[in-house]
């Protein structure tokens, strides 16, 4: 039920951006939520105005990261809509801003709003994700103290864990002896030897030695380095020779190293860099300067929170257990069977396309590799905000992905189906999310 008639008061120049781009066709074939909130629009008008001037400059970080690869048809150049001034986005943005600016934010209300999609502008996504991941408390008054606490905690982690043993030893010495730089030029003589405590020498094989731990960690650090270099080579935000890209890579690297050191259980697994990248991107592009400069600390805690939900996917020992990746893939299979038995039968029985071949990457990397970067941000909006939880929602979205290409799958054999699923074609994300929504077992109002 799309309202084609635009009321006159909404037709004013207040809503248009500076550069009039070719007007996009009404984006969503799915019934947009705006029809239900249309009544609320008049009440919301006064709030929009302050957001307006901010909007234009905010678009740039999102655009800049993508438009520099200026080839027009390149798949990665996909910000979904060239302008943020569509009716939907403006109203969504206004509602979200309003909810966030409450003193006490209702998480359920925020989830409801966010599950309809978060607009790209005005840094809304950054704050909403932080709230959804539990990084920011819902009492707005507590934000400054919470943020300060967490950020200083991260700084401590960095200082402690990123030092090499040489520096650690130097710090210890400096704290022990006060004046060391005394009569150096005292002429000749034997140099004085000092004792070593606790096996703290570079060739130590002792388990408590800082040196030994350091060398054991070098392997993991090398792996992290390699993966960080390979993250999103098409985006200027992450890759290239600019000092901006390098500092972003440095930040990713530090976060992953600290995570690996603090979590000896799962350390670092290839792919964590892909899960980290969108988080850091969103937080780093926050229009509020203070947030953008502390993006690394914020990202670290949100990453921990996000991974904790999916931790079992990364643990190799749990692969075959009830909570491991294999059983998650089986759940996906079951879901498909429930909703589309014909497709399920064709895929798994007739063409024998084992879901592990395609779903493994979909699930462990949270769909970051299947769509354009901007699209995956939209998918993550839904994953993070859905009250059913990211695991369940992810499975529904994967199932929807299969259903959307069912015609091609039903017509294909093993090779073509596998090829299709491993290089999933680009689709209309809103439609995909709409279908995923319909697959809910307990329909939400």
């Amino acid at each position: 039920m799309v309202k084609k008639q635009v009321p006159d008061w909404l037709n004013s120049s207040l809503w248009s951006t500076n550069t009039p781009p070719p007007p996009p066709p009404p984006r969503h074939p799915s019934p947009p939520p705006s029809s239900s909130v249309a009544d609320r629009k008049p009440a919301v008008v006064p709030e929009i105005k302050p957001a307006e001037p901010v909007k234009v400059e905010i678009r740039d970080p999102l655009r800049d990261g993508v438009s520099s690869s200026s080839s027009t048809d390149h798949d990665y150049n996909g910000t979904p809509s060239p302008t943020s001034s569509t009716l939907e986005d403006v109203s969504k943005q206004a509602l979200l801003l309003q909810e966030i600016s409450n003193k006490l934010i209702s998480l359920s209300e925020l989830r409801r709003l966010a599950s309809q999609g978060i607009p790209d502008g005005a840094g809304v996504r950054s704050t909403v994700w932080k709230l959804l991941l539990g990084y920011l408390p819902n009492d707005r008054g507590l934000w400054p103290s919470e943020l300060a606490k967490k950020r200083s905690q991260y700084k401590n982690f960095k200082d402690e864990l990123l030092m090499n043993p040489s520096e650690i030893a130097r710090k210890k010495d400096n704290s022990v002896s006060v004046d060391y730089d005394e009569p150096r030029s005292e002429g000749k003589g034997l140099l004085s030897r000092s004792k070593i405590t606790h096996d703290e020498h570079p060739l130590s094989l002792g388990t408590t030695s800082a040196w030994n731990k350091f060398f054991q960690d070098t392997e993991i650090i090398e792996q992290i380095d390699r993966d960080v270099m390979r993250t999103h080579p098409d985006l200027h935000f992450f890759s290239g020779d600019t000092s901006f890209a390098k500092s972003n890579q440095e930040a990713l690297r530090s976060i992953l190293i600290i995570f690996a050191k603090l979590n000896p259980g799962i350390r670092y697994v290839q792919g964590m860099n892909e899960v980290l990248a969108p988080l850091f991107y969103v937080f780093r592009n926050d229009p509020i300067e203070e947030n953008a400069s502390s993006a690394e600390a914020d990202t670290f805690f949100c990453f921990v929170e996000l991974i904790s939900g999916f931790r079992d996917n990364f643990c190799q020992q749990l692969d075959n257990s009830v909570v491991g990746i294999r059983s998650t893939i089986t759940k996906l299979s079951q879901l498909l069977k429930e909703h589309d038995e014909e497709l399920w039968r064709h895929l798994e029985v007739t063409t024998k396309v084992n879901p592990q071949f395609y779903a493994f990457r979909w699930i462990t990397l949270l769909l970051t590799q299947e769509f354009t970067f901007a699209d995956s941000l939209h998918i993550w909006d839904i994953l993070l905000s859905d009250p059913e939880g990211p695991q369940e929602t992810l499975l529904r979205v994967c199932c929807a992905m299969l259903i959307l290409v069912r015609r091609r799958l039903l017509a294909g054999d093993f090779t073509s189906n596998l090829k299709l699923l491993q290089n999933y074609p680009s689709t209309n994300i809103s439609h995909l999310l709409y279908v995923a929504n319909k697959l809910r077992s307990h329909p939400v109002g």
Partner: protein
């Protein structure tokens, strides 16, 4: 943080069969960035073995080395330090501080690594530091039979060097350290 291993006077296989196993277990590849060897290895197999620990190997010729083409002296720069290597049999009286200081001034280095005496020493004088890593196998020298196996590992970090001395005393590895800062005037 650059780790530099200094050892020498192994005399394998003339006077000693091999490095002590406790030393060998510590010398694993991947940790050390440079090896400085004062000489008297003496055979090629040891050269190859040292190469496996670290590809960057600098050797000077000792009087019993079978490989005739090692240089008499060598200088290199690591971090902010200029380091010189020489076996030391050319310096007479052997082990004498003043003569070694002369050699150090000739080579114009901050740290001079020499051997020949098979005794660990670390001297300091105006021009810099002289380190003798001793004999890594504990081979007898022309002066004495009573030699403790020893070698030296230097941790070079900008203007500061921490010298770790590894000695095998009564079958146990004992480690000491020596701190040395370079005065910024030089």
């Amino acid at each position: 943080m650059v780790l530099v291993l200094a050892l020498g006077d192994l005399h394998i296989s003339h006077r000693a069969p091999d490095l002590p196993p406790k030393f060998k277990s510590m010398l694993v590849p991947g940790k050390i960035q440079h090896i400085l060897c004062t000489g008297n290895l003496c055979i090629k197999e040891i050269h190859d073995y040292l190469r496996t620990i670290c590809p960057d190997l600098h050797i000077t010729r000792g009087e019993y080395d079978e490989e005739a083409r090692y240089p008499e002296t060598k200088t290199l720069t690591i971090g902010q330090f200029k380091i010189g290597i020489c076996h030391g049999h050319q310096v007479i009286p052997s082990g004498d501080l003043d003569s070694l200081a002369m050699l150090q001034r000739q080579l114009d280095v901050d740290i001079l690594v020499t051997g020949h005496t098979h005794q660990f020493t670390a001297y300091k004088h105006e021009a810099g530091v002289v380190i003798n890593p001793g004999s890594a196998t504990g081979a007898y020298s022309s002066i004495t039979y009573d030699v403790n196996p020893s070698f030296v590992l230097m941790d070079i970090d900008a203007l500061r060097v921490v010298v770790y001395v590894y000695e095998l005393i009564d079958g146990e590895v004992k480690v000491d350290k020596i701190d040395f800062k370079k005065t910024t005037t030089t």
